[in-house]
Each structure stands twice: as C-alpha cells, then as structure tokens.
Symmetry: C2
Subunit: 411 residues, 2 copies
C-alpha cells in the first residue's frame, strides 16, 4: 500500500549501495551464517552485487567469509559442481553492544555480539521496593564497565540498549514514568551515556520484547503482532504492518491503563478500573491473600499453590485469567494481530489457566479477527526484553553500517 506521507524523499543512486549494505548486514545479523547464494535469492540481487557488498562489509570487519564446503542448495539437495558458495558470517566477537534489562525485581546486563549472541551476562535479583534511578544507573555502569573490560583489543562496543518497565521518551531516553519502580522523569539515557561514554538508547520493556520476538522469536516473519508484558503492571509492545509502533513520542502500548471496569478498583495512575487492576500481579496477590510485591516468584508461588489444591489461590488465578482473556480480546478486536505473545507474569497465568483465558477471550473477540490469531508464550523466554535492548543498540549500525562503524571507531 502506498503511504502518502507528505515529504517522502526520492532515492538517489548513491543511496542504493548504502541501503543494500544495511539490508545484507541485517540479514546475516538475523539469520546468522548464510551462503552467498542464499543472499542472492533472498535479497533479489545478482551475484556480483552481493559479492561487492560482502567485500565492503568484510573490509569493515563486520562480517567474515569463508568458502562453503558442501552446503546444501536452497532446495535441500547437495550442490554438484560449480563454484562453491562463500558463507557470510557476522563478526560476533568483534562487534558488540551492551544490553540492559531493568526489572522490578531483577537487573540483567549483558554483552551481546552481532548476530544476537549473548557473550557474557550478569544477573542480579532484588526484593521489590523503591530503587532510586541513580542507584540503578550506578549499578549498570559498574557492571557495564566490567563487561567492557573483558572485550579484546580489536573489538568495538557500539553502544548500549536499556529496557525499562515504564514510559520512555524516544528522543533522549528520559523515563517519563515507571510506576512500578517509583520513577518519574529519570534521565536514564543521559546519565548512562555520561558514565559509560557510549551512545545509550532506552526503550519500554514490552516494546523491546516484541522487537526481539519479531526478529528471532514467536513473531518472526509476522507483520502484525503484540507482546503483552506482565511485570507488576501490564504493557504492550506492538508491531503493526511490520513496523514497531511507538506512537508520537514512544509512549504507545499502555494497555494496562485502558479502563475496562469503570466501577472497579482505583489505579495508581489516578483512573479507576484500568485493565491491570484486574489482571495484574498485584490483583493476583491481593485475591490470593499474599503480600504485595511478590514479583514473578510470587506469581509462581500462587500458581503452585493453586495446582496443589489451594482454593483461594485457584480462585485468584481464575479471576486474573478471566480478565486476561477479556482484555486480550479488546486488543485483538482493535488491532487484528496474527500473534499475541504473553510474557512475564502473564505467561505464568496463561500456562496455569489457559482454558479460562481462551474461553473468556473467545466470548469477547469478534469472529473475524479471532480466526486469525494465535496466543503464544515468548520463544526467547525471559530474555525477550534483554535481546530487544540489544537490537535497539544495533539499530544505528544496521541502518547504515559503514557510517556508523567509522563514527564509533573514530571516537
């Protein structure tokens, strides 16, 4: 479909090579080692063009090439005769980023190489409770500096991607509001950039969850997908028509704060009857008679108690499952996705009370979008947001590989 946005630019012939370098590098970043013959057919470019592009990326140290041995052809048969196809592999050790997942009860910092390989990671677990943004950025900087210290001399760390469970302003990585961390207007991006001396991008955890699942998970190859992230509250990451949807400023996805029960409970956002007041972790804990702030471990305890016959826990789980199904139907009616991925606490609820979720979902979803959608759990498990954070940090390189690399290595 033609998008008639005002101000679309034409394409100059010098843009073509730049765009193709981006497409090729992105392809091997997503798919890993790939024979040139596959690149030729997948990208729709001829052999000599692919050879030239690959040569530039090799010279820049972004990919390496070796002659293929007896690689199967696209149709699965072995190659017979002809030149062997070179295999193009991303330079995972040489080109790295830091990825950070800030959770309510955990902090993960990892070094991730081109191709999406986790090279090293540090995981910390916290009790729920207010943690000041300054303490968290200090911890990230300390761990990040350690991780960078391990990198060999010819490697380059391009930048940092950070996932936060809150509303993040796209332009500068200001965390406008992260209620479950107790943060407001926390300049996480700016502080980390200064501490680490690297470019830092910050994103919402659900937005990064869907990015990772879209690149290499449950929504790979899908144009319309939603990731619902349950971590105390509930947020959505949305891919629509193949594009990540952040909204005007990056705040899209606050589906936890859509009013679904106007006579319901007051919400910390100031409204009443928001979806997360009925399907969020805290509602589960309250109904199960457990202390607030149990995090994912607390949810797993309620699930285990329900499975062991605890009726109060079971009823609490059923309540949350009903509302999870109902709210998911709202989203499916509004957006007609192909895949809905339930992550974090929502995954636990779905695994333990999937029949209830589905039954309620089917009651409220319209027939046409209902026929089209699968509800699934993340393929990347708990690492969706971490991997998504690395994708954010790889963005600039993948958009314009040579420019970005020359910038980073010059600085």
């Amino acid at each position: 479909m033609t998008v008639l946005a005002r101000g679309s630019r034409g394409t100059r012939s010098e843009d073509v090579r730049r765009g193709n370098l981006s497409t090729l590098l992105t392809y091997v970043h997503v798919h890993g080692a790939t024979p040139r013959s596959t690149l030729t057919s997948a990208l729709g470019l001829n052999r000599s063009t692919i050879g030239g592009l690959t040569g530039e990326l090799v010279a820049a140290g972004l990919v390496c090439e070796e002659p293929g041995r007896s690689y199967p052809t696209d149709d699965g048969t072995a190659r017979s005769g002809g030149r062997p196809s070179y295999v193009v592999t991303p330079e995972t050790e040489r080109v790295q980023v830091l990825a950070v997942d800030v959770g309510v009860t955990h902090l993960t910092v990892a070094r991730i190489g081109l191709g999406g390989v986790v090279l090293a990671r540090r995981d910390r677990v916290y009790r729920r409770g207010a943690r000041r943004p300054g303490d968290v950025t200090t911890a990230i900087a300390k761990i990040g500096t350690e991780l960078i210290g391990e990198v060999s001399g010819d490697a380059v760390v391009l930048g940092v991607g950070v996932a936060v469970p809150g509303m993040v302003r796209r332009g500068d990585g200001l965390v406008r509001q992260a209620p479950n961390l107790g943060w407001r207007d926390a300049p996480v991006g700016a502080v980390l950039a200064e501490k680490l001396g690297l470019h830092v991008s910050v994103g919402n955890d659900a937005d990064l969850g869907i990015r990772a699942e879209h690149v290499r998970g449950a929504a790979a190859g899908v144009l319309d997908a939603i990731y619902l992230s349950g971590h105390s509250g509930v947020g959505a990451g949305i891919i629509g028509s193949g594009t990540p949807l952040g909204g005007r400023t990056g705040y899209a996805g606050e589906v936890g704060h859509t009013v679904v029960n106007p006579g319901g409970l007051p919400c910390h956002c100031g409204s009443r009857g928001c979806w997360e007041t009925e399907c969020g972790e805290e509602r589960l804990f309250e109904l199960a008679g457990r202390p607030v702030g149990g995090g994912l471990t607390g949810v797993q305890e309620v699930v285990a108690a329900a499975a062991a016959g605890d009726r109060v826990a079971r009823a609490a789980l059923e309540h949350v499952a009903v509302w999870l199904g109902r709210g998911t139907a709202n989203i499916v009616n509004a957006l007609n996705p192909e895949v809905v991925i339930l992550g974090g606490a929502l995954e636990e609820v779905f695994m333990a009370a999937g029949d209830t979720v589905r039954a309620e979902f089917e009651l409220s979803a319209l027939a046409a979008p209902l026929d089209q959608v699968c509800i699934v759990t993340p393929h990347l498990g708990r690492d969706s947001t971490l991997v998504g954070a690395s994708e954010l940090a790889f963005d600039a390189l993948l958009s314009d590989p040579l420019l970005e690399l020359s910038r980073r290595t010059a600085s």
Copy 2:
C-alpha cells in the same frame, strides 16, 4: 528505526527510477501543481533527475508541464533571473477513478481525478433498514456506469474504491460483516468488478477516513493518527508510524467492540458492554426516547433538542459524551497518537458536548500521551471516507505509475 523483518529485499538500480516515478507522482497527486524547483528540494533529487522523471510522466499522460511565470521560490521571494521553473500538474481530467461511499443511510458515487479532485458525484439518501448487498451493488453499478459514460475519449478510469461500514477482507473485498447494514460475507468487490469491468478495491470506512485525512486533511504530515468513525457503530482507522494499520487481514479498528463496561448492555456482536453500546448513535436515541435508526439526521435532531433546552436530550448527549471521552482515553493510552479525528455522529457529539468529552478524556488519559494529542474534527467534512476510497483506487497507479497505466490502457 530499522525493521528487522525477515526477507527484506535489496534495491536494484532499475528499481530506483520506478520508485522515484512513484514518489514524484504521489507528491503532485497530494500537493497539486508544483514547480520543479520545489520537487527538487522536497524529493532530495537533482534537477536533471527531476526533469527526466517528469518527462516520462508527461509522455504517459499522467502530468503536464508548463513554464512557470513568476512563481515564488521556496522562501517566498520572487525568482530573479535564471531559467523559469516548470510547473508540474496532475492530469486530473485524464486519469480518474470511481469512489463509492456506502453508508447506512446514504450512498455516494463520485468520479475523482488524479490530484483528488471530485469531478462529478451522485448522492442518494436512504431510510435506515436492511438493504441487500445485491441491491446496493446494482445501484452502484448503475450510477458508476452513468458516471463513466460522461468521461471524454482520451481519459482513463483506473478502477473503483469502495468504503463500507464493516469488516472487509483485504485480499478480495469480501465484506465479512457489516452489522449496521445487516451484511455477512457479501462479495462486494467481486460483484462490482464483474458489473463494471474494472479493478475494485473495498475498504472499511474508518480506515479510508484516516487515509484521506492523512493525505489531505487533519492528519496531514502526521505519523500517528486515529480516525474514529461514528455511523451507528464506532470504528477506528489507524495510521501508526506513518503506515495504515489494517491488521493481519484488514479487520483492525473494531474499537467499538472493546469491552469497557462488563456489566453493561448486550451488544449485537454477542458480547456485552462494548464501547459502542455506550457511545454509539443507538444508545443516544434510546436515552433520548427517540426511535432507533435515525442516522446522522437523528443525531442532529437530538443535538438541536438539547440546545433548545430538552433535558432528556441533554442527558442523553452527556451520557454519550462521557463514554466518548473515556473510550478515546483508552485508545490514546494504547497508541499515543498525535491526532484523534472524530467523524460522523461522533463529530456531532463532540461539537455539542466537547467540554464533557474533554473532561472525561482527561480523567482517564495518562499524562504523557495526553500532553501529545489533539482531538479534532475531519477537515474533509463528510467526504473523508469518499476521498479515502479514491485513494484506495489510486494506490496501484501511484505505486508503479508506468506499469499500472500500461496495464489499464492495454485492457
């Protein structure tokens, strides 16, 4: 932002000219007569490239050129010396489409020329009541044939775009469900294509409303916008990150069927407490003690009565306005748009009870997206969906001007 969709294609040099022809023709279609110098700067291409592209489009009869007289330059000053810039104008009379707006109480068929100019139109008004799809397609074909008969010999009618208030399957224009017309699985696209012998595209009315407002209305230049269409029910057309969002199959936007009041009224969709049961026309009529099915005229009557002091009408209007504000907040929290456009009956409610809509909206919207959004009425008035239907019919031409024109004129 790089979109890491699998299977992205590279760009071949022969694709560049094709893409630039599309960009240039789209530009003049949207902006009307444009000096070549403006095209050069707007598209970021050099003068000789623009000259060559324009020449091809002139030869194909899609645009014409004439020497500019004393056209102002981009900064508003008059040109002094140098060659006069040619002005590129879309061939409105030569290149046309049929656009059709099927409403619950109206039918409009128009001939619209390249550049979005309405050249001729026929409007019919109906009482609400079941109209069979076959009767409607017969009426459209009859009027359409008349309109085509008026076209001069050297003109070409490229195809037909049809707006329907229902869920339309993108692939073949099957109207899967249009509750307010009483239609189910109506093959509108196929029937009209056979009757008219033209390519027919069918779309949802709200999806086409936002397209028109995005191209030449209240959302021009905006990347994230929503059009809420109130015609008996309520549907949304969504532009996200500059792209129209149809969802997997084209059914996205059924926000009227998001449950916002679980203890509320049964909805014709089979669920209960759907948004349109509280903010739709029929709820207004019911609360105002008026017969169902009054359509836009009926809504205007309630508004007039409320303005004249009818307390029952006023209370009905206030009820609907409260729910309009509340549901709009849900959408704004979920999608963080820059503009929300209220069309059809919702425009009437907003004009008559805007303070109530805004107050309720502000109660439920989160601060961050609230700061970013404007709620407005359509710039194209009642014609948004009609103009959007024409854009649908122009899509193929604008995506690949020369190919499409050769196809149409050959057949």
